[in-house]
């Protein structure tokens, strides 16, 4: 343990409103602490800058998966294990289930939360690319009430997001409009389990009977300061048939939308190339059988 533990504080407010009141009174003093799978690692290495935390893990308002005809609403504290065990999630949101299955080992999946994965704001996180494909919306709450933000606009820069210091992420909504998308989730991380991704690719698309792409959604992790939804590449594909020129153009456009770097895990060159390979493979498979490929999602 490289941190001086007596300098750190963790409190467990009794209710959500207690937590929000405290955040409102002392907005930059307290930060939320959910499953701890990221923060405890920073604490161990002596690099956790913030000192005072609110444990929110026990708050019922932030838990549970609720299904309405239009949405699935996931409490911010929903664990990766809970996502994988939920029937509707498995049926309609295979990208997110795949991400949950590939996040850490079982012990991490039992403890890590979807909300934590979002608010920790790592560009290498496994679930955000899936959330981007599914047009997720986030409900943020504070003592002053609640507001909704689109997830695709949530991250504004490395570890920066549209969230005030007095707010908590309460729920994540996924519109139930994507069940028929053909999807591919591919996490590339040298080893098969317990890896930090070098590239994380999630995509979904519909192809109409005339062979034209009607709805293409492409998202990537570990290739920029934030996770990226590749809107321009999607635009290139819209209403096109998947001939070689279109696929090539989409890959080239996607390459311009991402900004990978060299780091100790990989190289910019590798990330660019593999991202393009995965998109090309996804689109080619879509063309040949209109079906899913890659990891069984």
């Amino acid at each position: 343990m490289r941190s001086y533990l007596p300098d750190y504080h963790l409190r467990a407010p009794k209710t959500l409103s207690d937590a929000l009141d405290l955040l409102a009174r002392e907005p930059n003093v307290w930060r939320a602490f959910a499953g701890g799978t990221d923060l405890m690692v920073l604490l161990e290495f002596g690099v956790l800058p913030h000192k005072n935390f609110l444990s929110i893990r026990h708050l019922p308002e932030l838990k549970g998966i609720e299904v309405t005809p239009e949405h699935v609403s996931l409490g911010a504290l929903t664990t990766y294990t809970e996502i994988q065990r939920h029937d509707v999630m498995r049926r309609e949101f295979p990208l997110l289930c795949a991400a949950a299955r590939e996040t850490g080992g079982i012990a991490i999946q039992n403890r890590g939360t979807l909300g934590g994965n979002i608010v920790n704001a790592s560009p290498a996180a496994d679930s955000p690319p899936a959330l981007l494909v599914y047009d997720a919306e986030l409900e943020l709450v504070s003592a002053n009430g609640a507001r909704w933000v689109e997830y695709r606009n949530f991250h504004t820069g490395y570890k920066h997001m549209k969230m005030r210091a007095d707010e908590l992420l309460r729920r994540i909504h996924l519109p139930r409009t994507t069940g028929d998308l053909k999807t591919l989730y591919r996490k590339v991380g040298t080893r098969k389990a317990q890896a930090i991704s070098k590239i994380c690719f999630a995509a979904g698309a519909r192809v109409s009977d005339d062979g034209r792409v009607r709805d293409a959604r492409i998202a990537l992790g570990s290739v920029a300061p934030t996770v990226v939804r590749c809107a321009r590449a999607e635009q290139v594909l819209r209403d096109q048939t998947l001939d070689e020129a279109t696929i090539k153009a989409a890959c080239a456009t996607m390459a311009q939308e991402i900004a990978p770097i060299d780091d100790m895990r990989s190289t910019a060159e590798y990330r660019l190339r593999v991202a393009a390979n995965l998109l090309a493979d996804f689109l080619s498979t879509l063309k040949t059988d209109g079906g899913a490929s890659g990891n069984p999602t």
């Binding site: 343990m1 490289r2 941190s3 001086y4 533990l5 007596p6 690692v41 161990e44 290495f45 002596g46 080992g105 591919r186 590339v188 040298t190 080893r191 098969k192 389990a193 317990q194 890896a195 930090i196 070098k198 100790m264 895990r265 990989s266 190289t267 060159e269 590798y270 190339r273 593999v274 390979n277 995965l278 493979d281």
Partner: protein
């Protein structure tokens, strides 16, 4: 009477305590008044220490602080040379070099204090790679940066180049590898003027630590005691480093007036500061006839030793002797060097230099075979060494060896031939995103210390018969997971024909057991096991000589004999000391002769899939066929092979040490990735048993290091089959594979 116990999968001696969590490792121990110790390390790769500053906000008067000035004896870790200081006094030669030690009873405050000490180093030019060291970019050690060199010279290789039909050259390199035992290095020490020094810890070689502490504290042997606790893996990584950390804890304890001091490294410190496998470069120049017979091999082998000499000379030796492999070649010259760089010293790691030079050879021979126009297997068949032929060191192979037979069996088990053809066809036809390949490596590994090493060690094992008939084995050979306790008990039980449960192992404690040598070099079963056998037979001889035991006896009669003997005469002990088998000769000057008492022989086959979208390689199947003499315990033996192969797969495809200015920067398990249970193929293990005349229990040889040797070349040979690209470096990371495939297009 006993049924045979050798060859049966008896329960591991300490199995129950390990599965219940009752086994006590050093960090599980606490002593009254114990302090915790921490190490302040060099921030710079090379330079002169200018100032050490103690920051504010720490009650420094509560701390025990040790610097080089506090060392009572010699400030050098006694191993081969005395060049490595316990604590740098004036100059530092690698990042993470220990400079100052701290102890306090509050762990958290200790860590705060460690971070509050800053060391200012005036930098000196540093050398980070073996290439830079060879080029003498800067002289950082001795006169030429060379710790050690060897020359092995057989026949006259200079004369073959003109006669050769073909000459094939190649260069091969390997990276560092972290041992990554799951239990980090740790010790507890008590040192005071009255009682001397005692160290408990996680270690492979209690007597190495003992020897080092004698020098550090200038004490006679009887005043230093070293005790091995349950040890959570070593793989070579706890061969030498316990001498360092044990000395540190003892220095702190001495300064703290004899209070016990515990030092446990966290993972980041263990990875950054302790030893790793030596990076290497091997160059081959090979002369062959058109018919595919080896005429001459010229091999240059270089390893990067890091900042101090440590064990590099002996790692280099093993790598050198194995560099020409299990082949008969009339003319061989191997020149090798271990050179200095400003990185933490590299050290022992399973295989000890051999995986590096064997990787080069087994990659190179596929290249030579292709140049001759033969398949890799046919080329090797024409050159495999046979009984009566000589190795590179002119050792005449006296045992029966059948490499071709091992190859046949491995091929049959993997359906090699048909897969070789099918994959080639499918790869050529297919537009898919997966390429498949199959490849193999054939190799040998010598058991025991090299050359005159065992003669020099003169290991001793004791055995004591207790009044209730139990037999206690007294040896410093450590159980580190590989099964020492169990196989020694089997060997003793078999020799005495008494129940396995009557045999127990004394805890390795230099105050109580003789020096049976270090637990390294695949020597524990073959060398020390033989001593166990003869020591326990000494007990029986005594009992029979005293007329207390007849030629054959029951367990009950054995117990009774022991009871009577101990009552009448006192303790019954027997000791046995190593003597070389007859006819063994080794010339240290010429570096020729019988390098090892016996070799294990093996052929390993790997099957791979290369993903052309992500450039990742998956090993789909792995078959390991080896001849290791008598197999003492089939499950433990297979476990050794499987574990070694898993480490070899990590070495080949996953484990990449990322260096920046002489520092490992990916020193976490998150960023230095070893294979998980989801990554490994089925590892299928097969033994041939050709009893070794001088091995224990009906002819056992060594086994521990062998499985580290064959994985890397077999996998890269398979990748070449899949992709047509001749990769020459491990670890082969996806980024490099991508570049290789790109260049080949």
């Amino acid at each position: 009477m006993q049924t045979e116990i050798v060859g049966r999968p008896v329960p591991r001696k300490e199995g129950r305590s390990k599965v219940t969590g009752a086994a006590r490792y050093v960090d599980d121990l606490r002593m009254p008044g114990m302090l915790y110790g921490a190490t302040v390390r060099s921030p710079a790769p090379r330079g002169r220490i200018r100032a050490i500053t103690f920051g504010e906000g720490v009650p420094w008067d509560e701390f025990t602080i040790v610097t080089a000035k506090d060392i009572p004896g010699e400030n050098a870790v006694a191993l081969i040379l005395l060049d490595q200081p316990y604590l740098a006094a004036e100059f530092v030669n690698h990042t993470e070099e220990p400079i100052l030690l701290l102890a306090h009873e509050d762990k958290h405050l200790l860590e705060k204090a460690r971070r509050a000490v800053s060391v200012e180093v005036e930098p000196l030019p540093a050398v980070f790679t073996l290439e830079e060291s060879l080029a003498a970019k800067e002289i950082i050690w001795g006169e030429d940066n060379v710790f050690k060199k060897y020359l092995v010279d057989k026949g006259n290789v200079d004369e073959v180049w003109d006669k050769a039909d073909l000459i094939v050259e190649g260069e091969y390199t390997t990276g560092a590898q972290e041992q990554l035992y799951i239990e980090t290095n740790g010790v507890i020490a008590v040192a005071n003027a009255d009682e001397g020094v005692t160290v408990w810890g996680s270690m492979q070689c209690p007597y190495y630590v003992h020897k080092a502490l004698l020098k550090l504290f200038a004490l006679p042997a009887e005043r230093v005691r070293v005790v091995q606790c349950e040890t959570g893996g070593g793989f070579g990584g706890k061969e030498e480093y316990p001498s360092m950390i044990g000395g540190h804890a003892a220095l702190l304890s001495l300064k703290a007036g004899g209070r016990p001091v515990k030092i446990i490294y966290d993972r980041a410190e263990d990875m950054a500061a302790t030893t790793k496998r030596h990076p290497s470069r091997t160059r081959h120049r090979t002369a062959v006839t058109r018919e595919g017979k080896l005429l001459g091999m010229e091999i240059e082998f270089v390893v990067d030793g890091g900042a101090y000499a440590t064990l590099s000379a002996v790692v280099l030796s093993r790598g050198t002797i194995h560099a020409a492999g299990p082949y008969s070649c009339p003319n061989v010259r191997i020149r090798s060097r271990a050179v200095a760089t400003n990185v933490p010293p590299h050290g022992a790691f399973r295989g000890f230099g051999a995986p590096q030079s064997i990787f080069a050879l087994e990659r190179h021979l596929d290249k030579v075979a292709e140049a001759v126009g033969l398949s890799p297997e046919e080329f090797r068949r024409r050159n495999f060494i046979r009984e009566g032929e000589t190795t590179a060191t002119k050792q005449v192979i006296k045992e029966r060896v059948d490499m071709a037979g091992l190859l046949d069996r491995a091929f049959e088990l993997t359906d090699y031939q048909s897969k070789r053809e099918r994959f080639a066809r499918e790869n050529a036809e297919g537009n898919g995103t997966q390429k498949r390949g199959i490849g193999f490596a054939s190799f040998m590994h010598g058991a025991g210390f090299t050359g005159s090493g065992e003669d020099y060690l003169k290991s001793i094992v004791g055995a004591e018969a207790l009044a209730d008939g139990r037999v206690r084995i007294l040896a410093a050979s450590t159980e580190i997971g590989q099964g020492t306790n169990t196989i020694f008990a089997q060997i003793a039980s078999e020799a005495l024909r008494i129940d396995y449960d009557l045999i127990e192992m004394a805890q390795p404690d230099t105050g109580n057991v003789p020096d049976s040598g270090p637990t390294v070099a695949s020597r524990t079963c073959m060398i020390v096991g033989s001593l166990v056998e003869s020591a326990v037979l000494g007990l029986r001889q005594t009992l029979q000589g005293a007329g207390l035991l007849t030629e054959s006896y029951t367990d009950g009669e054995w117990r009774e004999a022991c009871r009577v003997y101990v009552e009448q005469f006192g303790a019954l002990k027997s000791f046995s000391q190593y003597k070389p088998p007859p006819g063994v000769r080794w010339d240290d000057e010429k570096y020729e002769g019988d390098a090892y008492g016996a070799f294990a022989w093996a052929v390993y086959v790997a099957e791979v899939t290369v993903d052309t979208l992500t450039y990742e390689v998956r090993v789909d199947d792995f078959v390991a066929v080896q001849e290791v003499g008598k197999v003492v315990h089939p499950i433990l033996a297979a476990g050794q092979i499987e574990g070694g192969v898993a480490q070899a797969i990590g070495f080949t495809l996953y484990e990449n040490v990322v260096w920046q200015n002489g520092r490992m920067v990916n020193n976490q398990m998150t960023n230095y990735v070893m294979p998980t249970s989801a990554d490994l193929p089925p590892i299928r293990v097969y033994f041939e048993e050709q009893p070794y005349e001088y091995g224990p229990a009906g002819g056992a040889k060594g086994i521990g290091e062998l499985p580290m040797d064959g994985g890397a070349p077999a996998i890269l040979n398979a990748i070449e089959h899949a992709t047509g690209v001749r990769f020459t470096h491990v670890p082969l990371m996806p980024e490099a594979l991508m570049r290789g495939l790109g260049e080949s297009k």
